[in-house]
């Protein structure tokens, strides 16, 4: 008997597709068939890439890696819903969003390779902010960026990702309140994956996260985070509100962390496998694929073809990652300041002397 993850109780999330892939609401979210196919392909690529990263870590090619299996719909659906001018401020778990937004996975993985931290890729060019580890701190960056967009009168928004655990941080609150006061064109996108390392969401907060929005004076919505069409729709609507000057939106996407918190974590110490089994039953990829097939948008052959392409792409990424060498030591000193003070130059020389 599998027990439902605790955080699934409470308010029913918005849904377009039922777990079995049948539509329970208008499935037309405004995407063309090839865009719908691309959506599935991104999810398949993301999952395959995620598993490759875990393998790479096991083989000592990456440092600790935080997997996202189970969260593909939440990330791909929200990332695809954004426009080219929108800017994403991620946590440390949004590799799927990153590749959808055009970030080179090899550059992204330099972070986990341990060859550079922060934004190994160019955050400005990709409009995808640096990987952010201090929980919830990136939300204020997204809100500040959105305030800047408003000052420039730009028709764009920011989207900050964060987890259920992040909503306990003061930074979540201050940023959300700031967004409300300034009506900033910001999307606060919470991936509620049921766990914050070993702490389940119901021990993280006694309330429902989406309900917090009212206290900040803007709309909050709870969506089925394993339903890529529903995620796409609510994110699109939030972006439309932002573009129209109607201010921020808080989205709580109910999903699940199928794997460990990271490759350094052992969920067996705190989580019952039956919960994971229950969660697998609402796999976001199975669901979307079933619907696409029922609609005749894809078939086994198409997917088999993708699988081959994806295999090749992922192996290329692997090659790129393993060939990444340590950067020169002087890089430690090159960007701390625009023009380094004397003591940094001296310390730089100290290092080069060996």
């Amino acid at each position: 008997m599998a027990s439902e993850p605790a955080h699934r109780r409470g308010t029913e999330p918005l849904r377009v597709l039922a777990p079995d892939g049948t539509a329970v609401d208008d499935p037309d979210v405004g995407l063309e068939p090839d865009e719908l196919r691309a959506m599935l392909r991104w999810m398949l690529l993301a999952r395959r890439l995620d598993r490759e990263c875990i393998a790479l870590q096991r083989q000592g090619e990456l440092t600790v890696y935080p997997g996202f299996e189970g969260q593909e719909a939440a990330q791909v659906g929200s990332a695809m819903a954004l426009g080219a001018d929108d800017f994403v401020f991620p946590t440390f778990r949004e590799l799927a969003s990153a590749i959808v937004r055009g970030v080179d996975p090899v550059q992204y993985l330099a972070y986990h390779r341990g060859t550079w931290h922060g934004g190994p890729y160019d955050p400005r060019a990709t409009r995808f902010g640096p990987i952010c580890i201090p929980v919830a701190t990136q939300i204020a960056h997204g809100v500040g960026y959105a305030m800047g967009l408003a000052l420039d009168g730009a028709r764009a928004c920011s989207l900050s990702y964060f987890g259920d655990g992040a909503t306990s941080e003061g930074d979540f609150h201050e940023a959300a309140n700031l967004a409300g006061v300034f009506g900033a064109p910001a999307i606060l996108f919470c991936q509620n994956n049921g766990w914050a390392i070993s702490v389940p969401t119901d021990r993280q907060s006694a309330g429902e996260i989406w309900t917090r929005a009212e206290g900040y004076g803007f709309p909050g919505v709870r969506v089925d985070g394993n339903d890529v069409l529903a995620v796409y729709r609510v994110t699109r609507e939030a972006a439309a509100r932002a573009y129209a000057g109607e201010g921020p939106t808080l989205i709580e996407a109910m999903t699940y962390r199928i794997g460990a918190h990271s490759t350094a974590d052992d969920p067996g110490r705190y989580r019952d496998d039956s919960e994971v089994d229950a969660a697998r039953a609402s796999d976001p990829i199975v669901r979307f694929r079933a619907w696409l097939e029922s609609e005749g948008h894809v078939d086994g052959d198409a997917i088999a073809a993708w699988d081959e392409e994806i295999e090749a792409e992922v192996l290329a990424v692997r090659d790129g990652v393993v060939s990444q060498a340590a950067p020169p030591a002087e890089w430690m000193f090159d960007w701390t300041y625009a023009d380094p003070p004397a003591e940094i130059d001296e310390q730089r020389r100290e290092v080069l002397r060996g």
């Binding site: 960026y145 800047g148 960007w335």
Partner: protein, 324 residues
């Protein structure tokens, strides 16, 4: 040349920065409508509008965090932390992001952020209103930290801080806010990273900054009458420190005293002493003395004068070092 207070000079610096660069924003708690609790931002919202000069909720972490996001969007934020101790809630954002973002992005994203705060004691303020937080910021790689001692300095350093591509913490010595001085408000003068000798002397050098500069000058005059020739250096730039000037003065005077309000242990005096030892050991003829606040919480108003370095304590330390 006109007689101006430091508050007026800072206000003018913000005004001129807002005028000359339309990407400059000024925000924080009570800086807009009311012009700030010390009136440093008075009139700015009237002149530049509430889109560029605005009040925020009481959210120091989000104020610093928003400045980071605004930097990504190409804006230069000048934010106020209403008092020294009220910068502590923003420390995570300042240390993890404001200070590191440029390095984390390999120079692709600058953080031209100025964080101003009334600092240090001496105004009989309540607890948490008289702290000297410089150690937290000076120890943090990626930040610059400056503190002016005169209106002219204040104008120049604020302009330079705002124009700087890197984040600068500006500690405004609140005890000197209302002191008037004949000052030229322009950009000529020592920049960030440069200390200066504000009084010549050859028997000993006092290294100090902020509100203590004036007090050390008084102490130096008093000592002069007793034939002790004291040099006084206004460090002004606490990070980066002007090691060259510090070392040169010790080479020339052979003796040194460091004066600051912050508690002694790991106050800036420790770093100044360490650099003196590293750069001028052979010239040092006596131990460096630190005249500082004590290693206890900042005291209530009634005891403030017993806690802060007094002219007597400074004179005493100088005599000790010179007589060594």
């Amino acid at each position: 040349m006109a007689d101006v207070t430091m508050v007026a000079a800072l206000n003018q610096a913000l005004r001129d920065s807002l005028r000359t660069d339309d990407r400059v924003l000024v925000f924080g708690e009570d800086v807009g409508r009311s012009g700030g609790v010390f009136r440093v931002t008075e009139g700015l919202q009237d002149e530049f509008g509430d889109r560029r000069v605005f009040d925020t909720p009481i959210s120091e972490a989000a104020i610093a965090g928003a400045a980071v996001g605004l930097a990504f969007a190409g804006w230069r934020s000048v934010v106020e932390m209403q008092f020294d101790a009220f910068s502590y809630p923003a420390l995570e954002q300042i240390v993890d992001h404001v200070a590191k973002m440029r390095e984390r992005t390999r120079g692709r994203v600058d953080m031209p952020i100025t964080i101003r705060m009334p600092a240090f004691g001496g105004i009989r303020g309540k607890e948490h209103h008289g702290e000297s937080p410089e150690t937290f910021f000076v120890h943090t790689a990626g930040l610059k930290v400056v503190t002016p001692s005169t209106p002219g300095d204040a104008y120049r350093l604020m302009r330079l801080a705002i124009a700087d591509p890197d984040p600068v913490i500006v500690l405004e010595p609140k005890a000197r806010y209302w002191a008037k001085a004949d000052a030229r408000l322009d950009l000529d003068g020592p920049g960030i990273g440069e200390a200066s000798v504000v009084r010549e002397g050859d028997a000993v050098t006092i290294f100090t900054y902020g509100a203590m500069v004036a007090r050390c000058l008084e102490a130096a005059d008093a000592l002069d009458e007793h034939g002790v020739s004291v040099r006084v250096v206004d460090l002004r730039s606490l990070s980066p420190l002007d090691t060259e000037t510090i070392a040169r003065c010790v080479r020339e005077t052979g003796r040194a005293v460091v004066v600051h309000e912050a508690p002694r242990t790991l106050g800036l005096g420790a770093e100044v002493t360490a650099r003196i030892v590293e750069e001028a050991f052979d010239f040092l003829e006596a131990p460096v003395r630190r005249v500082t606040g004590y290693d206890v919480p900042y005291p209530p108003a009634a005891l403030e004068h017993r806690y802060l370095p007094s002219e007597d304590r400074i004179v005493g330390a100088v005599r000790e070092v010179v007589g060594y």
